[in-house]
Every structure is written in structure tokens, then in C-alpha cells.
Amino acid sequence: MPKDAVAEWLLSLFTAPDKAAAIVGDLSEQGRGTWPNYLCMAASLVVRSAALRPVRLLLSIPLGWSVFFGVGYYLDRITSSGGLWTTILASIVAGLVIGLFDRGQELPACLAMAVTLLAFFLYVAIAFPLLYILGPATFVWSAIHPPFLIVSTGMLMRKLRPVH
């Protein structure tokens, strides 16, 4: 079933693939193989993973911010253009650095960084009239793509280095 296969893939980002398969099998057997249950399970595994090394996870947030804004600033300076490619590269490099710093829990660390970045963009949207200057579509794109790329990089790193 495609839904179960997707859920298994999702859970395998946070636990060993055979454990993810067993969990999905258990939920299916109980007739509880629904998206709310799968998402609750994924959230539990994220929290569990984050609780394993909380200090390292917390440290990865300022590290990610420094890399994101540092790389962004540097690229802006050398290309003197800025824009889309700057944030794309800065996001990917930030995701890579966080993943390397917090090996074994790349995805929770990248998720934490992405959530703080999203919160920052929301704060900016509320505090400054950027929404009106950029327009809603451009602002939403600007706010969404760096966190999305950071999480995607974390996912890729997790898939390249699965949990055992």
C-alpha cells in the first residue's frame, strides 16, 4: 500500500529501517495505520531522538544560524548580487554543517534549526512591513525555502547514513 510505504520511509528517517517497518506493520495489524497515527509516531521518534543528546541539539541551532547568515553574507560579498542562489547555497551548507556536527540525529537538529528560522521569518513579517514590500507570494517563498532546504539536506544526510 503506498500510504504505508510512505509512512515507513518517513519513520525510517528517525529510526532503523527494520524498526520502522515493524512499527508500520504493527499499526496496520491493529487497523490503526492512519496518517494521524503515523505522524504522532514520527513526532514521538523526533522527540526521543532529540532527548538523546539535548545539549548538542541546542548547540546545533546557533551553529546553523551562524553558518546560514555567515555563508549568506560571504556569498553576497563575493558575488555582489545576493538573491536566490545565495540563500539556496547558504541553506544547504547550514544543513550539511548541522548534520556533520550532530551525527546520528541530523534530521532533528535540522528540524530544530528550520523551526527557529521559520519563527524568525514570521517575526520579521510581523515586526516589519516586509509582507507589503515583497508581496505575500514572494515573502512566503523567501520564508519557506531556506527551512525546507535545511530539512531536505538533513533528510539526505540521514538517508546516506541510516540509523542502526
Binding site: A22, G25, D26, S28, Q30, R32, C40, S44, L45
Partner: protein
């Protein structure tokens, strides 16, 4: 761990959850169950093995759990501590002396 001990060779996610529900009279959240099992496995209190893939589970295998010697010692110690704490308390209509 007591549920796993009770179930013997048939202890996997579904049966453990059902056993806890039957004996304790409350539902356990699936997330809490699997993260607890993971933690117990990391501590060496339980160990797991994969069963054979089953068609009724979409071709997915069960993960069976067994309590290790260390886990058994932990259960015994917890039980001893529980009894010790109960001792002398005038509850349940008796003194537990």
C-alpha cells in the same frame, strides 16, 4: 518489561500494548510504547529480533522482544523497592507491615 515477561515468545508491539491495556486498564500511546522499548533496548534491559514477514501486515515482519538477565534484575530490584516503600503504610485496609 512485565508485559514482555508475561507474553513470553509472543511479545511484539501489538501484543505488548494489548497486555498493558488488559492488565493496567489503560491505553498506551503507540509512540510512548516504541520509544520506551527502544530505550530499554539501549540500556540492555530487553533485546529484540525480527520475525518473518507476514502478509496480513503488508509483508512486514514483527519485532519480538525478550527481557535480558539485566532487565530481569532491574524488575526484581524495582519490585523490592516498591515493597520496601509500601511497608508500614496503612493503605489498602491493612498495615503492610
Amino acid at each position: 518489561m512485565l508485559a514482555i515477561l508475561r507474553l513470553g515468545d509472543d511479545a511484539y508491539g501489538v501484543t505488548i500494548r494489548a497486555e498493558i491495556s488488559k492488565r493496567a486498564g489503560r491505553q498506551t500511546a503507540s509512540g510512548a510504547l516504541y520509544t520506551t522499548l527502544d530505550r530499554l533496548e539501549e540500556k540492555g534491559c530487553v533485546m529484540s529480533r525480527m520475525g518473518d514477514p507476514r502478509p496480513e501486515r503488508g509483508g512486514r515482519a514483527k519485532r519480538f522482544y525478550t527481557v535480558t538477565a539485566m532487565g530481569l534484575a532491574s524488575v526484581t530490584e524495582a519490585q523490592r523497592a516498591f515493597r520496601s516503600l509500601l511497608q508500614g503504610l496503612p493503605i489498602f485496609g491493612e498495615s503492610n507491615a
